[in-house]
Amino acid sequence: MSVISRDKVDKAVKVASTLISRGVSMSQIGNIQSMLMRLEARARMGGLHAEREQEEFECIMRAAAIDDRARRSLVEAIRESMKEASSRGESPTVSAATEMVSLIAWCYDAINDTVIKEALRTAGIMRIDRRTRPLVGRMADRIEDLSILIKYFMNPSLLARESGLRPKQGPIRSRRW
């Protein structure tokens, strides 16, 4: 059993919220995840040196077509996770990278599909388009760790209010008076 610490979950929530606010889609995360899984499979079969494994990991992360700030945040979290795995003597360390990306993907779903969508719904916004996308980013930026995520899950209208929305009235700035 690989025990996942609270710190790691908090870090994953923070990275996921950065990815959402920087407009990274779930399918882009899925692409990174599948490339890392292929690398892990090769490393597990014993075909890669640790150095080569690291090089290929860097290559995958550089090649990912995502915003730079999102990339930095993602790479930092994954590197930290790989470093911890390495200090525990786990091999291949890239398995810690796939685990971290999976955790981030869970957080992404929880933030985007559950919490933000419901917060928008409480404000009467039923779909995300060019006009409402900045709101999603603003909401995501507020979610910095698991306890905040849970707080907003329990009370989605609070997230809507704190992001400048009023119940059933849509964005305050663009409302027609």
Partner: protein
């Protein structure tokens, strides 16, 4: 099991069961096994909370059910998660072949009473 199962845990399990059965979307029993699976795989109640929230977005667990379970976990039942979910599964098993209207049933005792009186005939 880590300790005796008292009335509090039974009440908590009943409330979770009721929310799972009567929320906006009835939660399939398989979700309970998944919750236990996540806990056993990651050894973390935080992962269970995250999983449950994610499942709401995927339409597998109703919002009410997730809220009730997370509330219980936040209010001191996190170290008895396996027992709590185990009891919820027992409630699921108990009503498997019966139709019991849970809307007016608020406590574990009321549930047992309704069950024994046979108001929930198969």
């Amino acid at each position: 099991m880590s300790g005796s199962i008292g009335g509090d845990l039974l009440q908590a399990a009943f409330q979770v069961f009721k929310s799972f059965k009567t929320g906006g979307k009835k939660v399939e029993q398989a979700q309970l096994a998944n919750i236990v699976g996540v806990y056993e795989q990651y050894g973390s109640v935080d992962m269970v909370k995250l999983y449950v929230i994610r499942q709401v977005g995927r339409g597998k667990i109703s919002r009410e059910a997730a809220k009730t379970l997370i509330e219980k976990l936040e209010r001191g039942y996190s170290d008895r998660l396996i027992e709590l979910i185990g009891l919820v599964r027992w409630f699921y098993d108990a009503v498997k072949d019966r139709k019991i209207d849970l809307t007016q049933v608020n406590t574990y005792e009321e549930f047992v009473s309704k069950f024994v009186k046979g108001s929930g005939v198969p």
